[in-house]
Symmetry: C2
Subunit: 555 residues, 2 copies
């Protein structure tokens, strides 16, 4: 059969090879009149969803549940989802999976790209939903959780397509045994591993969910999506889109189902322990991620959690630009990203600059000033910082600041900014602690949310070694070094890579430090406590299917 | 630098694509005078090893241990190996691994093929060692444990080479952010996962050890080989060969070390629990294999254990040829292979043949007659059956025969044959039980060694369903169906593949049912309790290394 997305697939496969920039979708929401109208229309569609029941094609126990509250309005979204009937859903998934496993791999791949296409059609609507569940700004919801996330999804499909293409469908084999030649015809079949449970996080669900969902579907596996109970709607719409595509193709919609739970009665462990669960994809806390890695068996687990993201500021050609880059990472989505930086290590004997050494306190002041400039501009703050997903985060920051006061200095206390559109928005501007290396029990682990540590070390070598301690002990998803000495940079690169971490060097300018590019960046190495899976590489695909063969004497 | 084995590598990579027969080595020991002299010379080298200390370049606690007894002579080999100093060995492995990880992937691959080449140079000597530890015949030691095992090793290197080639070493990336174009140079580095523990089995160590050893080395990881305490020598020679190659190349020999233990004080679990253990490759019992899969974390585990290998004999064009094929599998290496068949399912209403239906009892008689013909020819029996590795196996067969007498009929009791060369050889001819499907507690799991079950079912459909019950519950490594009805064969093929198992149909002639061809057969699907790993596919490689990247603004 002909496929609709062949060109897109080949472009994506090529981009994975060249690692160049590629995206089939616009990078930002449109600003022309048609786009503005479409955004308003999508808002109306989103608002019509509020307070209603969100039904899907899947077994349910009949009850409804939902506990989503907008971080922007403080109001209950009022959306109620069908409570899952776990056994019935696994059964339905298995039945749907049996049919799906018989669909030719190339057609499965094409349908996955059709799903991407259809998700993109509801781009703005999903962005509104994403904004009011995660707290991301509308533009981040369009870009990071929209275009970038869809690109990561396409990328996973490209890896899956290539991996399956490399398995031939048949072969002819001949070998002499003594005086006789044995001739066998062999057929090779891709066999999906089985039902996958995809567990998504509260603050950034699509970016990991799309790759996991699509990698599983492309390789033939049914999927149960288990969203965070306070951040369901985006995944509900995604499930609806997939089910629509499947129905249109005459395929069972139960191939992808949504299993909603509540904070009081979580079901993730029940899903993982279910005998039909064969794959777990998880994004969330390092603690639960490690538990899953250790306990998912016989399911295989793919995790992305969090590490301690470090900046070593040994030297810079432009202190203001560097301070601004760090400030943006501290503020971007209120530091609720797995790539947000947390620990900024400074040499006690000064940061090298073109005008000579700058003391750690001066460098910290430059960062604080950049954060202030961002925080004091409500319009810009709204676009960059958005809102805080969980009220717990605010409490954690307050408690940490109290701790910091005892062991160091709060160089910049957390504050709020006035959101120009949503006066009730739960905002929080970055808190910056100034400490020395003796305060490791404060900064030596991930502190979720907008708190960071400026840590004064002995010198540049010590700063590097202190940062590497975090990386080795807790893993890292984004690591940065600023220096003017090439030898130092080379040593740093080797040390991070040897520690199983990726490194960005001397990045300033409009690209946020947090940015990871689909097709180009190996996001998460998979070698540290910050996650065992890369989004995306061949290891993200390989175990999701296997090969069974049938051989018989040639006719 | 130039590589020595480029042509071999490219040929192997091509064979993995076409799935055609390929081997760079002779299939059988030579029969010319020079070969016979070389075999005798190798025997002398082997014999000179007996009773001595086998020292290697690795830390040791000073003591020596060894408990190998030849299944052919009944005599203690008297070889003593250095007792491992586990912590010191992991430390030495890590230091060696740091150096090895900096060796270019293509050079690592070439050195792996150099190791294969050097193992082949000691082909006959390793075969003598293998014969007197595993009980395999000399010719099987040359072919199955020699050429075929080396081919599986090369195959793993080919997959590793391809997987690493698909990771570009660098890339240039450009993207507009607003009005600014951001340009980044990116470098991508293969990062090995860490020290691997390769646990080998008593009866067939090389066939799994070579792929695991070489897959780990090619992807940059140090290896500790943990052989079965009664079957050490082959792995000791392999370790010696690797260490010699490494020394010649100026690389640390401790990259591969041998950790010998004893039946009384096993160390496998200590090795796996060591904080430096990052990869486990295991061949052995399903029980310990499942334990490793569930408990190896944070190490990743690759297991090949055993399932229940079934034959469904619904119909055949040639009953004698089919009976002979089954008989050879029951006898080959005294059924001590992971591909030995165990359960033969027969339709109670008769096996279809060109001359009409043949009753189950007649079919069983044909198999018994074929086994008798093999067993009563000592010269042929010696070449096919070899000897029994462990004395425990004989006891298990006797106990099972006593059980069978209570629930069915011993259609052919186990016996012995007189080995023409080694009168003390521990030989055992196949035991065949005739039972019906009610005796499932006898045949429903793997029974290691030369005992098989001829199981009379209702009809051909029931026979297929009964066999699939084994496959679904316990997994299978080799499954066979004989039938004359194409629809039945197609249904069987689909059912086995859906159950995650590979199937061979209607195979008779000189190729043993047990044979799995390197480059062509996906050995073990990885989808069943018979093992989570295929030797070899991309999933066997993917997790052994990851990618870390370094990105910085373009100059």
């Amino acid at each position: 059969m002909s496929h609709r997305h062949t060109e897109l697939l080949e472009q994506a496969i090529a981009a994975c090879r060249t690692r160049e920039h590629f995206s089939p979708f616009p990078d930002r929401p449109g600003k022309d009149e048609a786009s503005l109208a479409a955004i308003e229309q999508a808002r109306a569609t989103y608002e019509a969803t509020l307070g209603g029941s969100f039904l899907l094609d899947q077994p349910s126990k009949g009850e409804l549940l939902g506990e989503e509250v907008s971080p922007y309005t403080g109001e209950d979204l009022g959306i109620r989802y069908p409570a899952p009937d776990v056994d019935a859903m696994f059964d339905a998934a298995r039945r749907a999976g049996t049919i799906w496993s018989k669909v030719e791999p190339e057609r499965r791949v094409d349908l996955c790209l059709q799903i991407v296409h259809r998700l993109h059609e509801r781009w703005y609507e999903i962005a509104h939903a994403n904004q009011h569940t995660t707290g991301q700004s509308f533009s981040m919801s369009c870009v990071g959780s929209g275009t970038n996330a869809l690109d990561r999804g396409i990328e996973a499909v490209a890896y899956a397509a290539e991996a399956m293409r490399r398995v031939p469908t048949s072969g002819h084999w001949e070998k002499d045994f003594g005086k006789t030649t044995v001739s066998l015809d062999k057929r090779y079949r891709i066999v999906p591993r089985g039902t996958a449970v995809v567990i998504t996080c509260a603050s950034f669900p699509t970016w990991n969910a799309y790759p996991a969902l699509l990698a599983n579907l492309a390789t033939g596996n049914p999927v149960l999506i288990k969203p965070h109970p306070t951040s369901v709607l985006t995944m509900a719409i995604a499930t609806q889109v997939v089910q629509q595509v499947l129905r249109e193709e005459g395929l069972p919609p139960e191939l992808v189902q949504l299993t909603v739970d509540s904070a009081d009665a979580p079901i993730a462990k029940d899903l993982i322990a279910h005998p039909d669960c064969r794959i777990v994809d998880f994004t969330g806390s390092p603690g639960f991620g490690s538990w899953i890695e250790a306990n998912a068996h016989p399911a295989i687990a793919f995790t992305e959690t969090a590490g301690v993201n470090t900046v070593v500021l040994a030297g810079t050609e432009d202190l203001q630009a560097t301070a601004a880059a760090i400030a943006t990472s501290l503020g971007l989505f209120t530091a609720q990203m797995c790539t947000s930086v947390q620990n900024v290590y400074l040499p006690g004997d000064g940061v090298e600059t073109p005008t000579g050494k700058v003391s750690p306190d001066e460098a910290i002041e430059a960062i604080v000033a950049a954060v202030d400039a961002l925080s004091n501009n409500p319009r810009r703050a709204a676009g960059v910082m958005g809102a805080v997903q969980s009220p717990h985060t605010i409490g954690l920051i307050r408690n940490l600041e109290a701790e910091v006061s005892r062991q160091g200095r709060v160089a910049r206390p957390a504050g709020t900014y006035e959101h120009p559109e949503f006066p009730q928005a739960r905002t929080c501007t970055p808190s910056i602690a100034s400490v020395d290396t003796s305060a490791r029990e404060l900064f030596g682990e991930e502190r979720f949310g907008p708190i960071s540590f400026a840590i004064t070390c002995a010198d540049a070598d010590d700063a590097l070694e202190q940062a590497l301690r975090d990386v080795r002990a807790k893993g890292a998803i984004a690591s940065h070094v600023y220096a003017t000495d090439r030898d130092y940079l080379d040593r740093a690169a080797d040390a991070y890579v040897d520690a199983g971490a990726s490194l960005t060097m001397n990045l300033t300018g409009p690209m946020p430090l947090n940015f990871a590019a689909a097709y180009s960046d190996y996001h998460v190495t998979g070698l540290s406590p910050a996650g065992n899976a890369c989004l995306t590489d061949e290891a993200f695909i390989a175990g999701r299917f296997r090969v069974a063969q049938v051989r018989e004497p040639s006719a």
